[in-house]
């Protein structure tokens, strides 16, 4: 990302919400093992309660065919979203030998700079805190699920037992204890870098501005060894920036995927187009699961 773009996004406090800190994440897709250690670390910490059986604040699925949740029938009707089998079509590539491609897409909540969920909430239960973390007040939420429909990333879940909407909290209680989020701490592929995007000196913002730093030893942002990673020196991008919410999770796009396909996920080529790319072809569709 150019310096100008960084300035535009992160050089000043959030114009709408005023937060002067924006925690974010950089995920190197090239190094992802698809192991779901992040998913499980998150689940064991936050979503093993009632009604959360199929809720994964952080999910990983094999692109192009893995969708979570899957949209059956009317794609706009969130009551038809299918949250079961969050990792369906794992390791199912697209193309024909020898031109096969797939990649693992790990997705926590994007904690967007301009979230779609906040203005959609009729009870004003959603807020962006001082650290740029988007949270749903579980005391105030009344379960209208407008946020579930509004989030273009499908990262808000309705808990039918507690009757509230729930989502990733970027592990804010752990951040306050000086720890990284569980998905970052547990990432055994060492693909995630976490930090304050608005701090020009943070490892994450330096890496986003100068990708070449990734493959060299760089000074970790903090004493926590966890942040010291090797990252592919490729320009980071956001997943589906065309949704327009300015996500705070950045990705190092996959090298082994045709550029036009990368563009569908991480570029502006699909501007205005909100259908998921690459629907599952009929012959691969799993019947009666």
């Amino acid at each position: 990302m150019s310096e100008e773009l960084w300035q535009k996004y992160y050089g000043k406090p959030n114009p709408k919400y005023g937060n002067r800190v924006q925690y974010g994440m950089l995920i190197d897709i090239n190094k992802c093992l698809g192991c779901h250690s992040c998913t499980m670390a998150c689940k064991q910490t936050w979503t093993s309660g009632p009604g959360q059986e199929d809720i994964y604040f952080n999910s990983v699925s094999t692109q192009p065919y893995g969708k979570y949740p899957r949209h059956e029938g009317d794609p706009k009707d969130s009551s038809k979203y299918d949250y079961r089998h969050s990792n369906l079509y794992q390791d199912t590539p697209k193309g024909e030998y020898p031109n096969l491609w797939q990649f693992y897409l790990a997705r926590p909540c994007n904690h967007c700079a301009d979230p779609a969920c906040i203005p959609a909430c009729p009870t004003r239960s959603i807020y962006k805190n001082q650290d740029g973390i988007v949270l749903i007040d579980q005391d105030k939420c009344e379960g209208f699920q407008y946020c579930v429909k509004a989030c273009p990333y499908d990262k808000i879940y309705y808990n039918s037992v507690t009757k509230k909407s729930q989502k990733c909290i970027f592990c804010f209680p752990l951040l306050e204890k000086g720890q990284e989020p569980q998905c970052v701490k547990s990432c055994v592929g060492k693909i995630r870098v976490f930090g304050n995007l608005m701090d020009p000196e943070s490892a994450i913002s330096k890496l986003i501005r100068d990708p070449s730093l990734g493959a060299k030893p760089y000074t970790p942002e903090v004493g926590l060894k966890a942040t010291h990673r090797v990252i592919n020196p490729i320009e980071p991008r956001q997943y589906r920036p065309d949704f327009g919410t300015v996500p705070s999770v950045w990705y190092v796009p996959p090298r082994n995927v045709p550029p036009e396909e990368v563009e569908k996920y991480f570029g502006y080529a699909m501007s205005g187009l909100v259908e998921e790319p690459n629907p599952v072809p009929a012959n691969l569709k799993m019947k009666d699961i």
């Binding site: 055994v188 060894k225 082994n256 699961i289």
Partner: protein, 846 residues
């Protein structure tokens, strides 16, 4: 740490401080939505961490991970686990995958064995009677006594696999077998993990580089090991190297997860990897990229081989007083053979010479390298392309790339080892590394990293206690390879008269023997009826427990009071310590063995009924690798690097530097072998032989012959059948853990096929289908993906008995034993290596 933590949250704190200031830039349109007031719901999340205690221990599955975990306990219940970030070398932080993340789900599993149980009704019928521990011990002891009296005590067969995973708890099985003179099963070779090419070439069990050494490589070939899926804690060494610009090549028939993480994926026909390696050797030779000094000084290359017998020429052949063990090289100046000196650069590497024997006869002798060069002539890229399906130009290019990058490394995985001719494939790969001088250098090597076989201390005094202090006599168990237990003896079995017996009692501890054994069909039909007692100490009702006569509740790893563990993947010895009190009526393995010994009158020899004293003994008698590592130190530090000659450790550095000889008979890396059986089968040198089963061509034949023939089995069963390791389980461990199974596609066994192959059979995705062959069958739903080539079926394995609709994923496999694997029998070092990838099947819609 305090300062750094403060630095970390600085952003947040400064934001709080600045909270009262008016924002200068932009108008906060939704500012009213973020009032900075107390939010009690947030506190509820903060408070969930209050009152937690952390215990640092290790998970002990057989995946080579040996990953440390901070077990977070609250009110005596495990909440979750977190990576401890305490490996002294930060490159090894963090370790542990999603399986480790969810081990506590197994501790609290609904299938947990809670008390001793005795079978009521037929085996596998699922009817049990709860008994007391005393009843269980008495029953087991009396049955063992009865069986011992009737058939001999060596027919009581203890199977405590992979002791490095928990040296005390698994080693206790060895000790139990030894002090009572029982039989003992082997596993490393039987699993198919032992790369027999290593003992053949180097006379070592297995040698590999430390994982961290991948950082030193300039070019890496990952050959038949789906590292991304099966070596999660260490896979980043490869992906990191790639991020820094090192080229990674993955050779596999399948578009595996690893294929997506490398620069080049090479699809090779199943079981023909040896031919590909020899093809690359051919190119290396023709292009003059051979490291001749390496060959001359450290390999069998210059050693003379008699053309008449195929045997190495020995000093005793040429002189009456010659040493029958001395290998010979040619002295050009003197015009006659002389005794070989290791690391000498004098003798010729190639050439054929007439040598006068002591009886006056003259025989032609060639250096073994000369013979190898002659053999390599057959492996030109065009022919190899025909065999392997890899384009000739790619073979040329890969060979040149590998030979030109110095150092270049090969990860020689089990994918190329689980074959009837896995030893030949392994030897071909090693030959490629030798030709290019990539052995014994950091960043080079041929590393298998398969199976957690490596105990980084000498456990002899614990496993096989001395009969008398200070004397060499030990209590010994009577080994019987698991391959023979499952398949029966062969004509060519080593030491058959002494070792073969029909076993009558199986005690499978810490391994799901009956669930994971290949050749399930034989095992169920022929072997189990012969077994009069099956004892299964288990935490969950595994397949073995379901089929056992007595099931005993053992402690989970989090209840284990103490143990130590090591792995080939990283160089640390780690302390296992209890995070929980034993649950229900669970006991430790060592206590169970002790109690049975008490009833057999051998408890005074067995001695230990608690692991701590055993840990102490192991560390004190463990030899130089653990010198200076005491129990006190381990209790304090939890994870300590063992003493190794180099860091990062690379194999054979001393030998290749000329400071020590290899452990082989010749003191050199033996690319040429002259045991009778190698000669009988024409395998003195690495050669490509078609797979024993999984080939359309003449099975087990060299290409010249094979290509003219057709495999009759292939006509009936045209698909190669592979049941493979998955990321979602360590063998059968975690296969029933719902948190994990839910993430594995649709959470049930799947026959994975190429869409075109399925279409030929009228099968659609999600259809039920049966894969079958002459041995057995398995029924499962079908998943379609292009990752699987035509002519193949993959099933990711480990499913327990009750999870499979019909049949078993291992019912189709059968391991014919390769006579080469029987030349010697050294438990877990030289024995039958499973070739369960060497199998065919057909699939039909169910």
């Amino acid at each position: 740490m305090t300062t750094s933590r403060r630095n970390f949250i600085k952003g947040s704190l400064s934001a709080l401080a600045a909270g009262g200031l008016p924002f200068t830039s932009g108008r906060a349109a939704f500012g009213a939505l973020m009032p900075n007031k107390n939010r009690p719901w947030e506190d509820a999340l903060r408070e969930q961490f209050i009152g937690e205690k952390v215990v640092r221990t290790v998970n002990l599955p057989n995946c080579t991970g040996s990953c440390g975990w901070n077990v977070v306990v609250k009110d005596g219940i495990v909440q979750r686990v977190e990576p401890p970030y305490d490996y002294p070398d930060d490159e090894y932080n963090p370790r542990g995958c999603m399986k480790g993340q969810t081990y506590h789900r197994r501790v609290y599993s609904p299938g947990r064995v809670k008390f001793p149980m005795k079978r009521v009704g037929p085996r596998g019928g699922g009817q049990w009677k709860r008994i007391t521990w005393d009843e269980a011990f008495d029953f087991i002891a009396s049955e063992i006594k009865r069986i011992s009296a009737k058939y001999g005590k060596e027919t009581v067969w203890i199977y405590p696999p992979v002791p490095a995973t928990g040296i005390v708890k698994q080693g206790a099985g060895f000790r139990f077998a030894a002090v009572n003179g029982f039989g003992l099963g082997t596993f490393y070779n039987w699993y198919g993990d032992l790369p027999l090419a290593h003992p053949i070439t180097w006379n070592v069990q297995t040698e590999e580089h430390e994982f961290k050494d991948v950082q030193n490589t300039k070019y890496a070939i990952i050959w038949g090991s789906d590292v991304v899926q099966t070596r999660m804690p260490d896979a980043h060494f490869f992906t990191d190297a790639r991020a820094k610009g090192v080229k990674l090549v993955y050779i596999s028939p399948y578009f595996d997860p690893t294929a997506t993480a490398v620069d080049e994926w090479v699809r090779v026909r199943q079981g023909t990897d040896g031919a590909l390696a020899l093809g690359m050797c051919h190119v290396v030779v023709k292009r003059g990229l051979v490291d001749e000094a390496h060959l001359l000084k450290t390999t069998s290359g210059p050693l003379l081989v008699r053309r008449d017998t195929g045997k190495y020429l020995k000093a005793a052949d040429v002189a009456a007083d010659g040493d029958p063990k001395a290998f010979m090289v040619f002295d050009k100046a003197a015009g006659k053979p002389v005794v070989d000196t290791y690391f000498s650069d004098k003798p010729p590497l190639t050439g054929t010479f007439d040598v006068m024997l002591k009886d006056g006869k003259t025989v032609a002798c060639a250096t073994s390298h000369t013979l190898f060069l002659a053999q390599l002539e057959e492996y030109d890229p065009k022919t190899v392309s025909e065999i392997t399906g890899v384009p000739a130009k790619d073979i040329e290019r890969l060979a040149v790339e590998y030979a030109s990058a110095k150092p270049a490394s090969i990860w020689s995985g089990t994918g190329i080892n689980h074959w009837y001719h896995g030893d030949l494939i392994g030897r071909s790969v090693i030959a490629l590394a030798c030709l290019t001088g990539n052995i014994g250098v950091n960043g080079g090597g041929v590393s298998p990293w398969a199976g957690q076989y490596l105990m980084r201390l000498n456990p002899a005094d614990y496993f096989f206690p001395l009969k008398e202090e200070g004397k060499p006599d030990r209590y010994q168990a009577v080994p019987l390879d698991t391959a023979y237990v499952v398949n029966g003896p062969t004509e060519t079995m080593a030491n058959k008269a002494k070792l073969w017996r029909q076993i009558r009692c199986i005690w499978a501890a810490g391994g799901n023997l009956l669930g994971e054994a290949s050749d399930q069909s034989n095992l169920m039909r022929k072997v189990l009826p012969q077994i009069e007692l099956i004892v299964s100490p288990e935490i969950e009702m595994s397949t073995t427990a379901q089929l056992a006569d007595i099931v005993l509740p053992v402690v989970s790893w989090y209840e284990l009071p103490m143990d130590i563990t090591t792995t080939p993947a990283h160089p640390y010895i780690q302390l296992v310590q209890g995070a929980l009190q034993p649950m229900y009526e669970a006991k430790t393995d060592i206590e169970i063995y002790y109690e049975v010994c008490k009833r057999l009158g051998t408890d005074h020899i067995f001695k230990f009924n608690h692991p701590e004293a055993a840990v102490d003994l192991l560390l004190k008698t463990g030899g130089p690798r653990v010198k200076g590592i005491t129990l006190e130190r381990l209790k304090k530090e939890k994870v300590i690097r063992v003493n190794l000659p180099s860091s990062p450790y690379a194999a054979f550095t001393e030998e290749v530097a000329g400071k020590a000889k290899f452990k082989t008979a010749s003191g050199r890396q033996e690319l040429y072998k002259d045991e009778d059986r190698f000669i009988q089968f024409g395998e003195q040198l690495p050669v490509h032989k078609e797979p024993h089963m999984a080939t359309p061509f003449g099975p087990s034949k060299p290409w010249g012959q094979a290509k003219k023939e057709r495999n009759p089995f292939h006509e009936k069963y045209p698909l190669v059948y592979h049941s493979r390791h998955t990321r979602w389980s360590v063998h059968s461990s975690w296969r029933t853990t719902s948190d994990i199974v839910k993430l594995d596609d649709i959470g049930q066994p799947l026959l994975e096929m190429n869409p075109k192959e399925a279409a030929k059979r009228g099968i659609a995705a999600g259809d039920w289908a049966t894969a079958y062959n002459q041995n057995g069958y398995v029924k499962a739903k079908v998943k379609l993906r292009e990752s699987v080539p035509m002519g193949a079926v993959v099933i990711y394995f480990g499913w327990q008995r009750e999870q499979i609709r019909e049949g078993h994923w291992n019912a189709l496999t059968h391991n014919d034993i390769n006579p080469i694997h029987e030349i010697y029998f050294i438990p877990n070092v030289w024995g039958p290596v499973s070739g369960h990838f060497d199998q065919l099947c057909e699939v039909k819609k169910a």
